[in-house]
């Protein structure tokens, strides 16, 4: 029994793009997890990742999820494919770790959650910002009353437009744009830290036909009375910036990645880096992605209670979709 729980959780990675590669490499630093199988639509990407991980490439999702040496399936494909891959894994009786957002629509998210529950497998959604130390610390300090009763929140998450596989992010209806793909991090953090949202009002470029550009400004009123502003930007010429600020009746906490750059390297002749998907860099002893993967693995081994439940991931999705609804319809949307 004790020998069994100490074994690493064996993972199949579905999708070997930016985030699949990050998770794969993080598994090398996670004693609780080991990647045994990788599937990618691109055989080349799959083979590149398997070589780095000592795993094997699979020729289909079905093969990967049904492999006997796979305990859990880590879904790292574009958003609109999450549902099918998650359901395939659940059918195979495997635990699921799914990149955010859980799915593209609410009903498919519900279907995945119900299917996992019925099959008795765990479902984890990678809202990784909860594992970023700056946002974890901000959450904890707010919870501890460092600024008294919170009243006003400002969040910014800004990067250049991502160039993922087949530029799927630019198919805005499929990706949900910056709000669903990136803003959902901050919406999830808001829900986690301050509780449920009463209404949201948004303006954005979603469905305004600006190719390779998306930008949204959201205003929320939470049930606690907190008001919040969320800037979601895929309109930066370069780089990745996050900002958070919480004002309460006893003080203010602020964080800006621009002020916390522990290391900056400026090359006079920088190499040409092919366009990809930007992710923030944090110089910490353990990468937030490693912390997240180890947590999910320990949950699967029954050693920890999940920090993110499927229902919370559902609520984050519901809020992101309500934000898009407000942007499209121009009206405040009640949750």
């Amino acid at each position: 029994m004790t020998e069994k729980v100490s074994k690493p959780v064996r993972l199949a990675i579905i999708g070997a793009g930016t985030i699949g590669t990050i998770h794969g490499l993080c598994s090398l630093q996670s004693p609780e997890a080991a990647v045994t199988a990788v599937w990618s639509r691109s055989a080349e990407k799959a083979s590149q990742l398997t070589q780095r991980l000592g795993a094997r490439a699979c020729s289909s999702v079905e093969e990967a999820v049904n492999s006997p040496d796979v305990d859990a399936v880590l879904i790292c494909t574009p958003t609109f494919t999450h549902e099918a891959h998650a359901l395939a894994a659940i059918r195979a009786g495997k635990h699921v770790i799914c990149e955010k957002p859980l799915t593209r629509e609410l009903d498919t998210a519900r279907a995945v959650i119900e299917a996992a529950r019925a099959a008795g497998v765990q479902l984890h959604v990678a809202h990784v910002v909860r594992f970023f130390p700056e946002f974890r610390r901000l959450h904890d300090l707010v919870q501890q009353g460092a600024i008294g009763q919170p009243a006003l929140v400002r969040m910014t998450r800004a990067s250049s437009f991502p160039h993922g596989s087949g530029d799927w992010h630019n198919q805005i209806a499929l990706s949900g744009g910056v709000v669903l793909d990136m803003g959902i991090h901050d919406l999830d953090w808001l829900l986690w830290t301050f509780g449920p949202v009463e209404r949201v009002y948004g303006r954005g470029l979603y469905q305004r036909g600006a190719p390779f550009l998306d930008y949204a400004l959201l205003t929320l009123r939470l049930c606690s009375g907190v008001i919040a502003h969320v800037e979601c930007s895929w309109a930066e010429p370069a780089g990745f910036r996050v900002h958070g600020e919480v004002s309460g009746d006893k003080g203010m906490l602020t964080y800006d990645s621009l002020d916390s750059t522990a290391l900056r390297v400026d090359l006079r002749h920088p190499p040409d880096i092919p366009p990809g998907v930007n992710v923030p860099t944090t110089y910490t002893a353990e990468s937030p992605y490693v912390s997240q993967l180890r947590h999910f693995a320990r949950c699967i081994r029954g050693e920890e209670a999940p920090i993110i439940t499927p229902d919370e991931a559902y609520e984050s999705l519901r809020l992101a979709l309500a934000s898009l609804d407000s942007i499209v319809n121009g009206q405040p949307v009640s949750l």
Partner: protein
């Protein structure tokens, strides 16, 4: 030499205008009137300026007056100036109701003298350059603007609703509302606002998040909150982050500062070294009166900015977006 007076020391900006009026070679600073005679006498004496117990006597001796009273008193004071054909520079917000602002604009129009609103931000060299960059099309079409005008809670009359007409939203909306018009050449068409009282738990609003639709289809948000705590190293900020089709620009109008770290353990602070915008407000007003030309910010400019403020309050009350021009 233009004969100029200053009426009311209630608004703290009076104290930055007084030295400017004292120093300008083209101004004869005739005197100060104040509704609190003791305060008025003391401050007039400090600056070596005559004190007038009667504002009407001061008005009778000047061509132009600077009105720095509590917000709700702007209208009655300005109307008295208009009656005796004295040009007025009125502190922002120009008034606290639309009807007051309209009455002021009409009165000065029919008196044939200048009404100016004291908006310093358009004189910011960084903002002027931002306008040039945007108007030259360097960012492409402007799609969205994220703005802040946050500050430390000022106290005083600002937190007495019967004198201020409102809290943070009344105090801090008009600057950016005005800058948006200048930057984009567009009018605000609709405003949505979440207004909060959670920082100080008082009857006056201490925080506000406005979403402003502009007539060209672009949009902006404004955080006008008194969210800077007392320990904050400076009074606050005015920032504009402009997202355009081919690039972004960020203006931080009061970012030019030195850091002062006292050895005695007291709080560190910022000491600004940027251009004095208040001096430029006075300079422009005096020149406008002398040359009989429109000031940088007219009464109508003040009124247009006030419309956004009032729409924000109405939106917060109804939970719906409010169209400008359909103000209750």
């Amino acid at each position: 030499m233009m004969r100029v007076g200053l009426w009311s020391l209630t608004h703290l900006h009076a104290l930055s205008y007084i030295p400017v009026l004292c120093d300008r070679p083209d101004v004869e600073f005739v005197g100060i009137a104040d509704e609190e005679p003791e305060r008025g006498r003391r401050i007039a004496q400090d600056h070596g300026v005559p004190f007038f117990a009667s504002a009407d006597e001061l008005l009778a001796q000047v061509e132009a007056i600077v009105i720095t009273s509590a917000n709700v008193d702007h209208c009655s004071m300005a109307l008295r100036a208009a009656e005796v054909r004295v040009a007025a520079l009125v502190e922002k917000p120009i008034a606290t109701t639309l009807s007051d602002a309209q009455a002021m604009v009409r009165a000065f129009e029919s008196a044939g003298v200048i009404l100016a609103t004291a908006f310093p931000c358009p004189f910011s060299p960084a903002f002027e350059e931002l306008v040039r960059v945007v108007r030259a099309g360097e960012l492409g079409r402007v799609l969205a603007i994220k703005a802040t005008n946050r500050g430390v809670m000022p106290g005083g009359f600002f937190t007495q609703l019967e004198r201020s007409g409102g809290g943070a939203v009344m105090d801090h909306t008009v600057h950016v509302a005005d800058l948006l018009r200048r930057l984009t050449g567009c009018e605000a068409t609709q405003v949505y606002a979440e207004v909060g009282h959670g920082l100080y738990h008082q009857d006056w609003d201490d925080s506000g998040l406005l979403t402003i639709d502009l007539s060209d289809g672009s949009f902006a948000t404004l955080d006008c909150s008194w969210s800077r705590p007392k320990s904050y190293p400076t009074w606050g900020d005015v920032t504009l982050h402009v997202v355009g089709e081919s690039g972004n620009a960020t203006a931080d109008l009061f970012s030019q500062h030195l850091h002062l770290y006292p050895a005695d353990g007291s709080k560190s602070s910022w000491r600004g070294w940027g251009s004095s915008l208040d001096a430029l407000v006075i300079k422009d007003f005096i020149a406008a009166v002398r040359e009989s030309r429109p000031p940088c910010s007219s009464g109508v400019d003040g009124l247009k900015a006030l419309e956004v403020t009032l729409a924000a309050y109405q939106s917060a009350k109804t939970g719906q977006a409010v169209r400008i021009g359909e103000l209750a």
